[in-house]
Homo-oligomer: 116 residues x 2
DNA sequence: CCGTTGTTCAACCTCTAAGTTGATTAGATA
DNA sequence: TATCTAATCAACTTAGAGGTTGAACAACGG
């Protein structure tokens, strides 16, 4: 697997279990047991998922007695958002073009495609 | 691997080669050979990457003679953006809290942590 | 000190991702 | 028809993801 930060983040997000964990953490700090509770898989499996999220910088783990409380760290999500930003113009542009096309069809001038 | 749309999209984006392909496609349609040219890997490997992108709905392939021109489809990126949106409040909130903390430090009242 | 709880480590299995090379198909052209 | 180009298909290798179970460690409570 690629090891650059963005790839690590995307890979971490490419799993429904891990996204569910993040959703739970968005509501506040939680222990591994609490996080594992909703899932039909072993605690160890969840622990591995957390390690993936940690490596991507999406969760930070504290230490309180025998617990390792997890908290959400959203910095990598901002990176993703920045990356997406480069394409936003793209899809907004596409929408505009589609919109124009729909207007053209409504106006009954659809035969005149001047698609560069 | 998970097969839900969001997971497919994130997985597709979790590779620098595929992100570079998307960046190239953002500038316009391209053939497989054109897309493969910058990379130090076989054409077949790039073809596989395109298949992954296609499965995620990020590229659409046409047919023109012996060429299969690829175009960027940004709808899945919007899905990602929507998903991210649920966390935006989170990290903006975090920033605010960090900001407050910095202000508190600047004011010399840093000992009084009332962290719920 | 002993047992319980929370969590991780280690070994293992299975499946798939990502690359390779070689053969094959589809269409253009001599 | 023969051949060149564009791209895919097929078979294979290697490495890692994602799950399991069982053992180990660390901290608390009796």
């Amino acid at each position: 697997m690629a090891t650059d930060p963005l790839s690590l983040t995307f890979a971490a997000l490419a799993d429904p279990t891990r996204r569910a964990i993040l959703a739970r953490l968005a509501e506040g700090e939680a222990t591994v047991n609490e996080l594992a509770e909703p899932f039909a898989m072993s605690l160890q499996a969840v622990s591995k998922h957390l390690k993936v999220l940690e490596r991507a910088g999406l969760v930070i783990r504290g230490r309180a007695a025998q617990w390792r409380p997890c908290t959400l760290e959203s910095a990598p999500l901002e990176e993703v958002s920045d990356w997406l930003g480069r394409y936003r113009q793209q899809w907004e542009g596409r929408f505009t073009r589609l919109d124009e096309e729909l207007l053209r069809i409504q106006n009954g001038t659809e035969g005149e495609q001047s698609h560069e």
